[in-house]
Amino acid sequence: MKNQIPIQIKFSIEQIKKLPKGKYKLLDVGSAEQTFFQDNLKDKIEYEGIDYIRWSESDPKYVFNLDEIKTKNFRWMMKPTI
């Protein structure tokens, strides 16, 4: 049973596979699914992920900024909880 793909990821991958041929620029907000998406949609997507979303305590207006995340090398910090 190990490593089954969670339903929501499987659903997304199945639907993306059905899209017309082409290369799609995909943004994964949350980035838990990088391996699944890259393994299953190698030729179809150009993957980009935001692997850390700021909690925004200091500035509620600021939600995420990919450049800053890359620069500061933030790591994935949210545990899967289901």
Partner: protein
């Protein structure tokens, strides 16, 4: 990040962990192309498993009182209706997937995974019939709402 950059945006089981999901959705809308396809999901926190656990005075792994922020657990606990209403405010969704999966089926190699597996299959079937109770995850596919859709 520039406006209207991405063809597909996925945000799966993430928003419930964040303090301001609406702001994240607004940012997603900004960076999504006009015809971008969105895949979004959130867990239904009022499913049978959660209800039973709570009924018997227990908590799920996502409910750790006073440690929600420290452990990056679920800040928001939506029902199916809340999830659909929330997503509906940002996109036109034409596919909705109600699903059930147990954590042990996804991660356990041992006996527990095999015991839970058939139960999961039954719940998966029931999740389409009565999602409020039997659906653990609500996943949607659609387009972002354009200004003209919003009126």
């Amino acid at each position: 990040m520039d406006d209207e950059t991405y063809d597909i945006i996925v945000c799966l089981d993430t928003l419930e962990h964040t303090l301001y999901p609406k702001k994240i959705m607004e940012e997603i809308m900004r960076v999504a192309k006009k015809d971008a396809i969105l895949f979004l999901s959130m867990p239904n926190e009022f499913n049978l498993y959660t209800r039973l656990k709570n009924f018997f005075g227990m908590k799920t792994p996502a409910q750790e009182t006073f440690q929600t922020i420290d452990k990056h657990l679920h800040i928001h606990s939506p029902r199916v209706k809340d999830i659909l209403d929330f997503f509906g405010g940002f996109g036109n969704f034409w596919k909705i997937k109600y699903g059930w999966h147990s954590r042990s089926v996804l991660t356990d190699t041992g006996v527990l995974g095999f015991i839970v597996y058939p139960v999961d299959l039954i719940f998966k079937m029931l999740s389409g019939i009565y999602p409020n109770l039997f659906c653990r995850t609500v996943a949607v596919m659609g387009n972002k709402k354009l200004r003209r859709d919003l009126g």
